[in-house]
């Protein structure tokens, strides 16, 4: 179910090109609108759908059920710090979800591996991934959440 672009809505801003993890959203050199250059390689991560300020990107359903009226659309409202989903099922059922955005600023979530000590032999031979117990904090008890840590969201989309 790859993404496609409503050409009349797209203004060629490039947010989708920027965010696509597969690098398959490109700007058409003739019309200066975004398009999916390789639908086979799209894994429907919805990054571009969420990033599009004009709601110009949608995800194409499979041909056997797409004509039956389903719809999965999303509105990522950065000013309010929320992401909303509206899911319409083929039988007419509608579900709405509203959640906080938890995206980090560009570049801040990249671990600086050069500054981290190399894994020891013991860790290399372990079943766990590199730094797994430490970084997911499972070595100090249960899974940590904001609520457990007594934290709340601060002003700004990020916390």
């Amino acid at each position: 179910m790859p993404t496609f672009v409503y050409m009349t809505r797209c203004d060629g801003c490039g947010h989708c090109v920027d965010i696509c993890p597969s690098d398959i959203m490109h700007i058409d050199p003739t019309y200066r609108r975004a398009y999916n250059i390789e639908p086979n390689m799209c894994w429907e991560c919805y990054s571009c759908v969420k990033a599009c300020p004009q709601h110009a990107i949608d995800v194409r359903g499979y041909a056997d059920f797409a004509p039956l009226g389903h719809s999965v659309r999303v509105d990522r409202d950065e000013r309010k710090g929320t992401i909303a989903w509206r899911i319409k099922f083929r039988d007419g059922t509608e579900k709405n979800f509203l959640s906080p955005i938890t995206t980090k600023p560009w570049g801040t979530a990249i671990p600086k591996l050069a500054e981290v000590p190399a894994p020891s032999e013991e860790i290399r031979n372990s079943q766990l991934l590199y730094n797994e117990p430490k970084w997911i904090r499972m070595d100090e008890g249960g899974l940590r959440t904001l609520k457990d840590a007594g934290l709340t969201l601060k002003q700004g989309v990020y916390y």
Binding site: A84, R86, F97, L153
Partner: protein, 274 residues
């Protein structure tokens, strides 16, 4: 220079009625080009089919509501280009739009109202023509050299041409040549004919350029607002945090004490990481 009507100067060396007939022809070219574009692309059929679908599914809107939506569209989307997220693009667009309107109106007034030196042109019209032209040039060249997506984001040369550039390029070419022609005295010479050719490309190229977006965009913006108001919203989510009911939801717990306007997040950065 700023108070001389260049069309009156040129009109003296041209057959009577040439400039007036040319202007009428250009208006007809825009009308015919826009209609051809609509029929050829089937955009109007698609647009009205979509509108009917949205009307059938959503709640009925009263006449007052529709007038209010039309007013909002006119003020926010048309007069202030509210749909732009990139403020630089928005300013360049507003300069181009208002400049073009002032420039075209001043041209029409000077061509039809003061065609010869027999009827002296009030100084305001040539001045408005110059102001409009300069606004178009500032907005147009700023857009062309710095804001265009494949220049700003993809790093291509600003001199790389594509079909999509037909409108902006013929617009700045026409206005640049008009300004050069007027600055050189407004006679009928090479600059005048180059200006005429660029103008023919601008108005005659409507079916192939995005000239007609100035007519389509307000209609699309109105339809978008109508679909929001009647609840269909093109299937987009309509729930927001403003609604006190939504604030009580479990998923909204983390945002309970957060301010309603949290500022722009990831979109505060221009998309140029590719």
């Amino acid at each position: 220079m700023l108070s001389v009507n260049p069309f009156a100067v040129a009109g003296a060396s041209l057959p009577a009625g040439f400039l007036q007939a040319f202007l009428v022809l250009m208006v007809l070219a825009v009308v015919a080009g826009t209609l051809f574009d609509i029929v050829h692309k089937g955009s109007a059929r698609y647009f009205f089919a979509n509108m009917r679908k949205s009307k059938d599914k959503g709640r009925a809107l009263g006449a007052g509501e529709r007038v209010s939506i039309a007013m909002q569209t006119a003020v926010v989307d048309v007069l202030a280009s509210g749909e732009f997220c990139n403020q630089k693009r928005r300013v360049a667009h507003l300069l181009g739009m208002y400049g073009f309107i002032v420039y075209v109106v001043a041209t029409a007034v000077m061509v039809f109202g003061y065609p010869t030196d027999a009827t002296p042109t009030p100084a305001i019209w040539p001045l408005l023509w110059w102001i409009g032209a300069v606004m178009v040039l500032v907005g147009g060249y700023w857009f062309w050299f710095f804001i265009r997506v494949d220049v700003a984001a993809e790093g291509n040369s600003p001199f790389r041409l594509a079909k999509a550039d037909l409108f902006v390029l013929s617009l700045v070419a026409s206005v640049t040549l008009a300004v050069a022609w007027a600055a050189s005295g407004g006679g009928v010479g090479v600059l005048f004919w180059l200006y005429i050719i660029a103008t023919i490309v601008l108005f005659g190229g409507v079916p192939w350029s995005k000239f007609a977006h100035m007519f389509f965009k307000p209609a699309a913006a109105f339809e978008k607002r109508v679909s929001r108001a009647n609840g269909t919203a093109e299937n987009l989510p309509t729930q927001t945090r403003d609604d006190p009911e939504q604030q009580k939801r479990h998923s909204m717990e983390l945002l309970r004490d957060a301010p309603m306007d949290m500022g722009l997040g990831i979109k505060r950065e221009a998309p140029r990481h590719y």
